[in-house]
């Protein structure tokens, strides 16, 4: 459910690390379920851009209550992704995204006590200005 809202129409951009190189890109997603959940029940997440797919270690999932790689998520029982909250997914891909318009595909599964809620969404998004992980600001 809520499939068509999973990939947010905003928030796609390259991420530049403290050394000045593009370490990857990020996008924002919504939950394909009717309530917020503990992060540990985000069962799987796959991002596809062009011919490349990203999962597990290569995705960092960030919400207000915490930030974890998808490989770590299965143990995170006390931090929650709220129903009305955007999650930011940072994907490790040195060099980031090259083309201005990108076809972004997300496949996600939430493990509810009575079954799996899957969500699938594909959108073409335009890159927004880069995000700098500024050391200077610290």
């Amino acid at each position: 459910m809520f499939d068509k809202y999973i990939v947010c129409p905003y928030g796609l951009r390259n991420v530049i690390d403290e050394h000045g190189s593009i370490e990857g890109f990020e996008l924002k997603i919504r939950i394909p379920y009717y309530r917020g959940v503990p992060l540990s029940v985000v069962d799987s997440l796959k991002i596809t851009i062009g011919a490349e797919t990203f999962t597990n270690e290569s995705i960092r999932f960030t919400v207000a209550s915490g930030s974890f790689t998808m490989s770590e998520m299965s143990t995170v029982a006390t931090r929650r992704w709220n129903f009305d909250e955007d999650a930011t997914l940072k994907v490790t891909r040195p060099g980031g995204l090259v083309y201005f318009d990108q076809r972004v595909e997300v496949l996600i599964a939430i493990r509810a006590p009575y079954g799996i809620f899957t969500g699938h969404d594909v959108k073409v998004l335009s890159l927004e200005p880069d995000k700098y992980l500024a050391v200077a600001a610290k």
Partner: protein, 326 residues
């Protein structure tokens, strides 16, 4: 004389809440605007502080209850048995979660929590002293495909016989009284690729109580595709429990989930058997809430704007008539 009360599960407004066009206060106001008085909530849907609700939040919550002349009814809990990928939670852990949710419900001023049928009965039984401790009842939701009239309920009846009905009872979901395939679901099947002609054939066959195995052969001959068979499967799973079975449950119905998918502009529901169900509830002296659960949004939102307020309001017009509210 005691009478059935009208309430709404804020679940009904989930589309607007998700899209951030309605906030929690707006949802509560929408309930009040229809003259309904009961507010049911899924804390995990609309209380971002769950499971630790702050005094500041609770002050706002009770302020809204007062301002809009409504009262909290039920808090829907989930018992996250599959919290971890590699194992099912132990009974001890599930009892802990039950207590957590009883406490949340107590804080919100709710008299009952909804527990899912996936919660083991032994966990419910062990939680009864906790229900008493927090002053909140545990209501087992009975949702399609579970049949209120089948032997599936026997162990729970036994629990009631042994432990009484002060803290344990049921919350029947009215989706178990489905009369016929819903129009919006049929339309969605067609948008998803089913053939309009075959969907109509299946619906007619359903109305005529035809043997669905034969219907399956018929539509195969008509050249049915995967979506057509999916539609037939959906129709085959429609559950219409005889509403008279509610009489068997008189005395332990804590709350009612008034599920619906599509209210028509003339304030009728051709899909669910409310015309029979509400009189039966009256007859058995049910004086709790009919708590609306609009769930049509996920069927129509691929193609149409969702108007949950309008849908719930139409259902309440129907309830006013059926309850005999002046």
């Amino acid at each position: 004389m005691a009478t059935i009360k009208r309430g709404v599960s804020l679940y009904s407004y989930q589309e607007e809440y998700f899209l951030r066009t309605m906030k929690l206060e707006d949802c509560i106001k929408a309930v009040s605007d229809m003259g309904a008085t009961g507010v049911e909530i899924i804390p995990e849907q609309m209380c971002n502080e769950y499971p630790d609700l702050s005094p500041e939040f609770l002050k706002k919550w009770f302020g809204w209850m007062e301002k809009y002349h409504v009262q909290p009814t039920c808090a829907d809990a989930f018992s996250e048995a599959l919290l971890f990928k590699n194992r099912v939670l132990s009974d001890d852990e599930l009892v802990d979660l039950m207590e957590r949710d009883l406490k949340v419900a107590h804080d919100l001023g709710c008299f009952v929590i909804r527990t899912l049928c996936t919660t083991p009965m032994r966990v419910i039984e062990r939680s009864l002293p906790l229900a008493k401790k927090h002053g909140v009842k545990i209501g087992l939701e009975i949702h399609a495909p579970l049949d209120l009239g089948s032997s599936w309920f026997d162990p729970y009846q036994d629990l009631i016989d042994r432990r009484g009905t002060e803290w344990f009872g049921i919350i029947p979901d009215m989706g178990v009284f489905e009369l016929k395939p819903s129009r919006i679901k049929a339309d969605r099947a067609i948008r998803d690729g089913a053939n309009a002609k075959i969907v109509q054939y299946v619906n007619d066959a359903y109305d005529a109580k035809a043997d669905l195995k034969k219907v399956r052969e018929d539509i195969a001959k008509m050249g049915a595709n995967a979506e057509d068979f999916k539609w037939l499967g959906l129709c085959a799973r429609i559950l219409h429990t005889d509403p008279q079975v509610l009489k068997k449950h008189k005395g332990h119905i804590f709350h009612v989930h008034a599920k619906f998918y599509d209210m028509l502009p003339d304030f009728t529901d051709e899909n669910l058997d409310y015309e029979v169900v509400v009189p039966v509830l009256k007859e058995i002296g049910y004086d709790g809430w009919l708590s609306s659960e609009y769930e049509g949004n996920r069927t129509i939102d691929d193609a149409f704007p969702v108007d949950s307020i309008q849908q719930v309001s139409r259902q309440h017009e129907m309830f006013k008539r059926l309850i005999g509210e002046k």
